[in-house]
Structure formats: C-alpha cells, structure tokens
C-alpha cells in the first residue's frame, strides 16, 4: 500500500477528470435545462451555446459563474436568501457541511429570459468600491463573500437614472485616465446594461405569457398591417385595432434595439450562415412578411412553459425545436453541444487544482526526501499536463485556431509550454526540481488566465479576431513561438528562484543539485533564445506582410526584443565567463522581470498597434512580482556565509550582479 499510493492518488484524480467529461442529463420529468443550454445562438460574432452566453454574462456582471441561492444570515442561521435577515454572507470556506443550492449559468439565463421578476431578486451585481457603495446607499444591503459584495437588481433599481447619468460622463474620459471609482462605476454599468439587454432578449420584459401574446399578435397581423398602411397613406383606419397592434409591435421594435444574443437562426432558404437575428428583428421582419417566424414561436413556447412551471410542455417544445434545427443547423447544434461539454469539463480549473497539490507534494519531498512523494508529484504534474493539453486542444478545435489568440490564451499556453519543459527536466534529472517548477508555473499562469477571463469586457475568451489578426498561419508561427519563448524564459527564472531559495534558506542545495540546476537554466535559456528570436523575427515578417514595415518600434515588438536581448546577454556573459553559477541564476531571475514586462507591462502603456488588452488592476501585481524578483536577486547576491547551504562563492568581488568568477564549469 505504502508503495502504491502515488498511483492511487493519480488514479483518483484521473477518474475524477474523466468522469467530468461524461455527458450529464436532467431527470426525464424535470425541465431539461441542460439540453436547453446547449442550443446555439450568436453573440460577439460567433455561434455559441446558451450555456456560454450565460457564463460569459455572469462573468461580466458577477465576476464568476455560479449564483448561490443560500447562505448565512444573522445569528448564524443558514437558509435561502429571502428567508434570512441581514447581514448575509455566502458559505465560508470552513463550512464543509454546507452545500448551498446554486443556479448554474444555463438555469440562470433561462430564468432571466423567462422569469425576469425572479431574476431581479438574485444577488449577482458585484460592487466593491466603498465610495460607490456609499453613493448608491447600499452599505447595509447585499450578500458578502470574502470581502466582495453582491447586490440584486432590485437593490440597484432606485439608482438606475443616476448610474446612467454618471456613466455617460465617465464614458467621455479615456480608459487609462479613469479613477478606481470611475472604473468600478463603469464596470457596474456594463453589468447592468448586459443584464437589461438579456432581460429583453427573448421576450419583452413585461410580457407574462409570450407564447399567448405572439398567438394574439399573429391573429391581429393582417388587419393590423392594413390599418397601418391605411394610416400611413392618410385613409380611414380602425383606430382601436391600430392602437392595439402598436401596443404589441412597439415592445418588439424596442427588443430589436436592445436584445443581446441573436437567438433566431438563419433557417429560411436563401439566408447565409451568418444571418442570425435577434427576436425583435425577426419579429419586425415577420410583420413585413405577415407571419411570425417558427424559431421565435419555439423560443416563446419554451419561455412560457418554464415560467408557468410545466416541464412536460417545456421538454416537448425543446425536442421539437431541436428537431427543426437538426437539418439546416446541424453544425451549429453540434458546436453548441461540444462547447457546453467544454464548459462542463473546466480543464484549466481542474489542472490548476492538481498543479497545486503536486507542488505541495514535490516541495514536501525535499523536506523529508521521500521518493514516493516525489513520484506522486511527478505523476500528478503529468496528469495535470494531460488535462491542460486536452483543454488546449479542445479550445483550438472549438475556435478552429492555433493555441494563442488573445492575452487569456497566451497565459494558458505559456503555462503549458513551461510545464512541458519542466516535465522533460524532471524526466532527465528526477530530483523534484522539474516537478516543482512545472507545477508552480502551471498553477500561477492558470491563475493569471482565470483572472484575465474574469476581467475581460465581454467575458468571452474565444472572441473573434479582428481583420489584421485573422490569419492562422501567423498566429500559429509567430505568436506560438513568441509565447513558448516567454514560457521558457519564465521557467529559467523559476529554476533560478529554486536555486536561490534552497541555497539561502535550506541545506538541500548540495553541489550536485546546484550543478544540475545550473545546467538546466543554461539549457532553457538557450531554448528561450532560439524561440524568442525566431518568434520576434517572424513577427517582423508578419508586420512586413500586413503593413509594409518589418520593424516599427511598437511597445509589444520592443518587449519581445527585450527578451531576445536579455537571453543573448545571459548566454554571452556565461560564454565570456563574466558570471559564474550564481551570476547566471541572478541574470535568469531578472529575465522574469523582463518577460513579465514584455507580456503585460507593454499592454499597460496604451500606445501602439498591439495594445489590444489594456488592463488596470494588473499593474499592481506586476509591480509586486517585479519587487519579489528583485528581493530574490538581492538574496542571490548575499555573501556565502548567509547561505544555509553554504553554496556559491563570496559575492562582491566581481560581476555586474554580484556574481563571482568561479572555476568555469563545463556543460
């Protein structure tokens, strides 16, 4: 048993991951919400399942994708929000026995579509700026979760006019120049707009029974049209009928303006694949054509059945609609199913968790040097890498694109590249170093990706590429090699981090480990130089292809160049024996700063052609990271007597970073 537990641990996680890929079904006599959520619709220029629309909208509004319905109230009571007294808090991390009921993104979206008055009572709007809370007079309300506060639409309702006014003013200010309060306000405004648009996407917000309304409207249609034509040409017309008809048509016209997802697919003959419409537009077209489109009626039937609590009718309508789409929109239906499976799989979240556990095991293996711990860590890292890879490939398949298309996917891919290299190192050296670096870089980059996804303005991580970027060839070559260049430079930096930390704080950095670390760093820096150089030049060639200049000194280009220069500098310094082992480590640590700058810092400057991903909150983290690296370099420069491992020569006698010319080491 003692010998086999690493395999056992591996098996448990592998099983859990595999199980998550199993398609789930709702109970046959309940609402088939999962199936509904797989229906395709078009948002942000791409066809996606309703599930993704729910998820991405929740990310915009709430910052995460679940809506808990229960939690803690006053006096430690647990229950549904509406039954509790303020102050309300979500489940605390130590309340292991509590499993709050939650709305999944699909369920939430269906509720917003069909029961908006109920959706108005869900605490989903994230506000965390104290001044904004004061302005909105919300301090005493809302649900708290580890310092963040969530509010319902009803809480915010009294302030809508004020929000509208202020956001108009702030909208005039350039994004980079907004204060934290203004940013917070705009983000809340963005969430509110998304929510209001969603509420008016399937049916007019006030329509109780949309299916019945549509049936009425269809009956009125011929006579109503006649009345309108007569009125327009100045003839006698039926005033009452005219008013009644407009009473229906006006909300539909408003929906045509407001609706967020385009729910009505191009099923008519002669329509192109991209000719999706929102329900309002489809109804306007329907008025002209004299009939209500079948897809609109199908959506209406679903909404009504759900609002009235009739699962059998809902499921029948769903089956009918799916059958109607099966012919002309088979591809889109399939795409919807696949993407919801991807959403259910959560590959990056899952591998992130496994990386953490592997990191703990691998680090522990150094403390008591148990081979089993090390083996378990390595197996878990490999498993996480497999899941990470499956996720990456799945995403590429869904998008039909190379791995890196935006900042989010670059984080996923940087992590992936570093983990692959780390696993290779571990296979060669088997001393836990590869496992530790792989799992920590994997974990950190996936956290970064997670945060990038949650702060993106559309919530969608698979957004379409604007014209100049819309080329798979260059995305596959330039972007991929540059990103692997980032990954390997980071990996070298992390190896150096291990060297310094183990050397200064533990006695575990013996001669052999130090030597192998030094070899690893050197090898990885060589690899990084190759990839970043080729990637940078390929970028130049792409620029030459698309706007006629090879190099334009644009911030992102310069960032890439910095990495190349720095890696070249490390190699030359080593070849010239200007630095020894510790100098190499310190240079590699500085490489972390250079790479972080090139990856994120350049996007924060807000100039140039590449500034596609402006981020604000990230600046603080970048500075913290840089400071931590400088501290590590400082540690790396400490004289030998401060090193617990007593490794490394005395500093201060030479070298730009306090490294001493040691006996040159052959590689």
């Amino acid at each position: 048993m003692k010998k086999h537990w690493p395999w056992l641990l591996f098996a448990v996680f592998a099983f859990e991951a595999a199980y998550s890929l199993k398609p789930r079904a709702d109970k046959p006599d309940a609402f088939q919400v999962r199936e509904w959520a797989k229906l395709p619709a078009l948002v942000n220029g791409r066809v996606q399942p309703l599930d993704s629309i729910g998820r991405n909208s929740l990310v915009i509004i709430r910052g995460n994708t679940d809506v808990p319905l229960e939690g803690n109230g006053a006096d430690g009571k647990w229950g549904k929000w509406e039954e509790l007294q303020a102050p309300l808090t979500e489940r605390k991390w130590y309340q292991f026995s509590k499993h709050p009921a939650k709305l999944k993104p699909g369920e939430w979206l269906l509720e917003v579509f069909s029961k908006p008055e109920l959706a108005d009572t869900r605490p989903i709007f994230l506000i965390h700026h104290p001044e904004l809370l004061g302005e909105l007079k919300l301090q005493a309300k809302g649900v708290e979760r580890s310092g963040l506060r969530y509010y319902t639409f009803n809480d915010l309702k009294p302030n809508l006019a004020m929000m509208e006014r202020e956001s108009k003013q702030v909208g005039q200010i350039k994004q980079e120049l907004r204060t934290p309060y203004q940013r917070s306000l705009m983000s809340l405004h963005n969430g509110l707009t998304t929510y209001l648009r969603l509420k008016n996407s399937l049916k007019p917000e006030n329509s109780r029974d949309f299916a019945a309304d549509l049936a009425q409207f269809e009956k009125l249609l011929p006579a109503g049209l006649r009345a309108i034509r007569a009125q327009q040409s100045g003839q006698e017309y039926d005033k009452e009928l005219f008013e009644k008809f407009l009473g229906y048509a006006e909300p539909y016209a408003m929906m045509a303006q407001m609706a967020y997802p385009l729910l009505v697919p191009p099923t008519q003959p002669g329509q192109k694949k991209a000719d999706w419409a929102n329900v309002g537009q489809a109804l306007m077209d329907g008025i002209r054509a004299g009939e209500i489109p079948a897809s609109v009626q199908a959506h209406a039937a679903l909404a009504t059945a759900y609002a009235q609590g009739k699962p059998a009718e809902f499921n029948r309508a769903l089956a009918d609609y799916r059958a109607a789409l099966a012919g002309p929109l088979a591809t889109e239906l399939k795409k919807g199913r696949q993407e919801s499976l991807f959403n259910q799989f959560l590959p990056f979240y899952r591998s992130m968790m496994i990386y953490v556990i592997a990191l703990i095991l691998a680090a522990a293996s150094w403390l008591n040097w148990s081979e089993n711990l090390n083996r378990a860590a390595f197996r878990l890292v490999s498993l996480a890498l497999v899941i990470h890879t499956v996720g990456l490939v799945f995403r590429m398949f869904l998008e039909g694109r190379p791995p890196v298309t935006n900042l989010y996917s670059s984080a996923i891919f940087v992590g992936w590249g570093a983990v692959v290299l780390g696993v290779v190192l571990e296979r060669i050296y088997r001393n836990g170093i590869g496992s530790v670096t792989a799992s920590s870089v994997g974990f950190i980059t996936l956290i970064i990706a997670h945060h990038l996804a949650q702060t993106s303005s559309t919530g969608d991580t698979m957004e379409m590429m604007r014209a100049v970027l819309d080329t798979n060839f260059w995305l596959a070559t330039h972007v991929t090699s540059i990103t692997i260049g980032y990954a390997s430079t980071f990996l070298a930096g992390f190896l150096a981090m291990i060297y310094v930390l183990r050397g200064v704080f533990t006695r575990t950095l013996d001669e052999a480990t130090a030597k192998s670390l030094s070899r690893m760093v050197y090898g990885i820096v060589c690899f990084a130089t190759l990839l970043s150089f080729v990637g940078t030049i390929l970028g130049g060639i792409w620029a030459d292809q698309s706007w006629g200049r090879f190099w334009g000194w644009d911030p992102k280009e310069n960032g890439a160049l910095l990495i190349v220069i720095w890696n070249a500098l490390i190699l030359h310094a080593r070849w010239g024996k200007l630095v020894g082992e510790r100098g190499l480590m310190n240079l590699a640590l500085f490489g972390n700063i250079v790479t972080a700058w090139s990856w994120f810092g350049t996007n924060m400057l807000g100039v140039g052609l590449h500034s596609y991903g402006f981020m604000d909150a990230a600046f603080k983290w970048l500075m913290i990271f840089n400071a931590s690296q400088l501290v590590l370099i400082g540690l790396g420069c400490l004289p030998e007597r401060f090193w617990k491992s007593g490794k490394g020569p005395t500093a201060g006698d030479s070298g730009p970073t306090g490294a001493a010319p040691r006996k040159p080491q052959a590689v």
Binding site: G45, A467, I537, F550, H572
Partner: protein, 425 residues
Amino acid sequence: MFDRLIKFLSSLKLTVVLLALGLVLVFVGTLAQVHEGLYNAQTRFFKSWFVVGATLFGTKMPWLILPGGYTIGSALFVSLVTAHFTRFHWTWRRSGIFMTHLGVILLLLGQLGTDMLSTESAMRLEAGQTKNYSEDFHACELALINQSLPDDEEVVSIPERFVRAKGEIKHPQLPFTVKVREYWPNSMVESATEGVKPPVAVVPHVTAGYGKKVWVFPLPVTQDMESRNIPSATVEVFAGTESKGIWLVTAQSSASQSFEVDGKPWGLALRFKRYYKPYSLTLLDFTHDRYPGTDLPKDFRSRIRIDHPAKNERRETEIYMNNPLRYAGLTFYQLQMVDEQTAREAMARNPGEKVTPSSTFQVVKNPSWLTPYLACVMVGAGLAVQFLIHLVEFARKRKTPVPAAANNVKAKNNQPRKGAEIAKK
C-alpha cells in the same frame, strides 16, 4: 595598441555591455513613447546616434544621456565582425554560432538598408477611380502643370523646402517665375463666412483663384504619427515683370488652379508629393466585412485592375489584409477603408463633412525587404543547430555510464544532507 583595440572590440565583455545598453535603450525608448508619441520616440531613440533627455513616468530627466540605436547597432556590428576575423576559429561544433552571427549581421545591414532606401506613400482610390501615382504621407510639392499638351500633362514639381524658403522660384521649363509671399507649415483653410472673423484666422492677400474668400487658420506643427501637416502658401506668378496674380495654394485640396502665360494654360497646386508610376491602378470594388452582430472588422478586401501599357499588361487582382500586392518593385498594402456604412456614420457624427467611400493602399518601396526573411532562416537554423549539438552531446554524456553522472543521481537519492555538510566543511 592596435592589438589591444582589436582585443577590446572582439571581447565578449563589450558584447555584453552593448547588449545591456541596448536593453536600456529599448526599454527607455518604449516608455518615452507614452509622452512623445511613437514616431518621435522612434526617431529620437532608435534612428539616432545619441539620445539626450527623456520624460519617463511623467518625470523629466534632462540629464539622461544614452547611446542611440545607430551607435549600438554599428558597435555591435563592428564587434561581431572583428570577433569573427580574430577570435573565432571555424569548427563544426560552432557552425550554428557562425550561422546565427551571420544572420544577425544580415539583419542589422538589412535594417540599415531599409532605413536609408525605403519610401512609403499612399494611394487613395474611390470605386472606379484610376490613378498612376501615389502620394507621400508627409512631404509636399508645389506643382506647376503644363496643360497645353494634347493628351498629356507635364509637371514641374518644386519641393516644399523651396516654398518654405519664401524665395523666387525659377526653372528652365517654366516661362515664368513664382514668388512665394506667405507660407504656413500647418494650417486649415475654411471659406470665409458672413460673420465676424475669428481672431486667430488670417485673411490672405490673394487676387485670383479660390483663395479670395477664405480664412487661413495657422496651426502648430504636429509630430503625431496619426496626423499630418497641411501647409498653405500664397504665391505670385510673374511673366517677365508682369504679375499674373496672387493665388492661395493649400495641401488641403489637391485641385489645381489655372492661369495663362503666353496664351498657354498652366495649372498650380500645393499638394502631397506624388510618385508617378508607368502603370495605373483602378479600384474595381471593395468590401469591408464585419462579424455578424458586431462592429468588429472581419476582412478588408479591394479588387483592382493593373494597366501597364508599356508591358501590354492588363489584369485584375485582389489586395486584402495580410495579402499585399507586390508589383514592379513596390508593395501595395490594404491600409484603410471607408465603406458606405463607415462613411454614413462619419457624416452623421460630423454633419457638413463630406465623406466618400474609398480604399487606401500603403505603397512601400523597400529594396531590402528580403533580408529579414533570410536573416530569420539563418538565425533560426543556426540556433537550432547549436542547440541540437548541445543536446546530442548532453544526451550522449548521460547515456554513456560516466561514473560522475551516475553518482549524481545516487547521491541525491540517498543522502542530500551529507552533500550539504560536505559543502559546509
């Protein structure tokens, strides 16, 4: 002395120092773009020998002195070449390094070539329009057009610097002289309205042409990448000693104004410098696709016809994003596009402004455009070769049962603490 110089130039220390300086220059040059704009920072930091002073993070640093891009580039070049002639000895083991360095040299030379030889201009076409010239982004010329030829025009073009000098302009092909009276390097010309003249506006002293009823608003000279200077001037034409009149010319409009000398018609215009070609392009059609339900551009695409009478060539082709047309030593890129929707929106925003749908191409002449491609292949292959050589050696070392390597692993597995203790002793 000479030996020491050679040794210094070829030393790795110099390389490292230059690389470090390069790192600082690129970093500072990037930060400075926030304050100075891309174009200015580019000229000041990278296309220069020395940089003095910069504003970083909103702080003025007039004391900052850095070697510029030219200095670092040429020093690297010299150092690299010297090293190869003196220190480096060819071995197969170092073939990768040789190839890499050769690639870097090629890249540096290619960039110098681009810097000195390349020109950029633009060609804006409306649907159905034909042009046989492109226009410079910045430079202007005073064009004097002989319109008396039966089916051709003869243009005498005077570079802007002569206009700026405000002197008398004479040319053997001109039967008259032109005297520049006033000159504004950047300006906006508007028709004079009934109301009161704004205090900043100038009423030019003009006796002929469209300039008689306008106001000239002098503007500060712009360094911005996105905008260009629009010069204006007033010029007087003399046939002998007889004045033919004073005209206002402005680059705001490329339309020419006519006058007669010795019974022959001439045209006069201040316009962006034109590069004439022996062939013409006609814009047949263009499309601007957006992703459904969004404003995100999906594709810009122009269908054009090339007419080259001398070569008896007449063919159609398409220019779109990432797919330029390379023709007769020039490259045509899709640069901008104003389709009907964009034009409508622009006119709705700015009533009174007339925006016609058009497609604009960037026209680039860059004889050294191939060098980065070659350099990329050489450096990539060189680094890959070197990397593989190392990898194979490394693998061989580990495969052969060298006792040291085997011990390594064992030592780690058994007694790490012991190692540490030994090290401590």
